[in-house]
């Protein structure tokens, strides 16, 4: 309203009366105030995983008045979840977690918008789900999804809060891609294999509660513009002896995500390796066969990875990134057998198929360098 009262429209208010009451204890904090609470209300957060970490994260973010929360989980509630996944009760068993969580949270805070996505994060939906987010919370229980979050957030420059747990131990960090800081792949470049999950290793029920609350704490501070000390630091929590330590992180100079954004092909390659099928294409050769022919006169090794990958390690021969292959193909000689290789065998198979169509004699190293390196060691 103008001072002379000519405009009769009600003055724009940041909060309704009920919101104002609900968030009073936040607004009273000088570090948050009405402005910080307004920032939370304007925020869109995507929480990936509605289990042990997701439960406390979602309860506190919804209670705190984050205006828009997307819940992503493809799982259903199981009796063994109730030991730690405090969002759920007996009535929720066999229900989809995201929908059940949405119901619980809408009772807690009807002022906010909640979207339930009852499917796991995947290559197909990751970009579209993460693109609208101001912040992503990684509450997943497996490495493949965690690396997917890291890589998509790096591409889209989305900040994300990581946590993971094992038995009595936990880790937590805030990654902010694009600022020169470390990413998850700087820390653990290769996706670990043979590491136990909660289902097999057991986990102390309060542990995801502790770590989830550290995640929610960093998330709320980040969105309200307060200091976030876990940015570029890794928090290590030991619940048995109750110690809390922080490790200073630094970007790795050969991180394939930080040093050069991964192409869609590489992502494809990486995740198909994570869930590789055992079916073979006739163009594929085994690591053992590859080892026996790679030095033959009539064999030309063709590395189809990116320049960054090539510079980290290669096996001589020639290098044409898959994306450049089409324009360069005419320069290749048909007198030699071309053996394509990449990290996991997906891109090299694409390249080999492309070459075969044009009349080349060619093969693709099945399982890629990853498999060959393991087999020759």
């Amino acid at each position: 309203m103008t001072a002379n009262g000519k405009n009769n429209k009600p003055e724009q208010q940041a909060f309704s009366g009920s919101e104002w009451l609900r968030y009073t204890r936040h607004i009273q904090l000088p570090q948050i105030g009405a402005q910080g609470q307004q920032a939370l209300k304007q925020s869109h957060v995507v929480v990936i995983g509605c289990g042990g970490l997701g439960s406390p994260v979602l309860l506190y973010l919804a209670a705190a008045g984050i205006g828009h929360i997307t819940l992503v989980d493809g799982d259903t509630v199981d009796l063994t979840n109730l030991q730690r996944q405090i969002l759920f009760g007996m009535d929720d068993i066999a229900q989809p977690k995201a929908t059940a969580a949405k119901q619980r949270l809408s009772q807690l805070n009807p002022e906010i918008t909640l979207d339930a996505v009852n499917e796991p994060l995947s290559l197909n939906n990751a970009e579209s789900l993460i693109a609208p987010a101001d912040l992503v919370l990684d509450c997943t229980d497996n490495f493949a999804t965690r690396y997917l979050i890291n890589d998509v957030c790096a591409t889209l420059k989305k900040p994300w809060v990581f946590a993971s747990i094992h038995q009595f131990s936990g880790q937590c960090s805030l990654f902010t891609p694009g600022d020169g800081h470390a990413c998850f792949r700087c820390l653990f470049p290769e996706m670990p294999t043979g590491v136990a999950d909660c289902n097999t290793a057991g986990v102390l029920g309060v542990l995801p509660g502790m770590l989830g609350m550290f995640q929610a704490n960093e998330a709320i501070k980040f969105l309200a513009g307060l200091p976030t000390p876990l940015n570029n630091k890794l928090l290590l929590v030991e619940a048995i002896d109750l110690t809390f330590r922080q490790i200073q992180l630094t970007q790795s100079s050969d991180c394939i995500v930080c040093q050069q954004h991964k192409s869609a092909d590489e992502l494809d390659d990486f995740y198909s390796a994570a869930c590789a099928s055992n079916e073979s294409d006739p163009l594929e050769v085994s690591a053992g066969y590859f080892e026996s022919i790679k030095n033959n006169e009539e064999v030309l090794l063709l590395d189809v990875r990116t320049h960054a990958e090539r510079s980290a390690f290669h096996m001589n021969g020639i290098h044409i990134p898959l994306s450049d292959l089409e324009g360069t193909i005419s320069k290749l000689s048909k007198n030699k057998t071309i053996v394509c290789y990449c990290q996991s065998g997906t891109r090299s198979l694409k390249a080999a198929k492309q070459l075969k169509r044009l009349g080349f004699t060619c093969h693709s190293l099945k399982g890629g360098l990853a498999t060959w390196l393991k087999s020759v060691r």
């Binding site: 995983g49 289990g51 042990g52 970490l53 997701g54 990684d138 509450c139 997943t140 229980d141 497996n142 490495f143 965690r146 946590a163 993971s164 747990i165 094992h166 131990s169 936990g170 880790q171 470390a182 700087c186 820390l187 653990f188 470049p189 290769e190 670990p192 294999t193 590491v195 999950d197 909660c198 290793a201 986990v203 995801p208 890794l234 290590l236 330590r245 922080q246 490790i247 200073q248 992180l249 630094t250 970007q251 790795s252 100079s253 050969d254 991180c255």
Partner: protein
Amino acid sequence: MSISIIYNGKQTSLNNSQLLEALRELNIKNEQFALAINETFVPKSEYSTITLKHNDALEILTPMQGG
């Protein structure tokens, strides 16, 4: 030259101060770990350049996937 470091919280004596040699001596073969010296993360690409000093705190961080 033998040196004494703190390995995962325990005072440990090593014959090698070169980090890569020290890892071998500590029998750390699994590659699925991250490493911190004095609470600062060291990327894998730098291992070959690092010489441990007396009383350095060397820490092996294992990835965990639970949630």
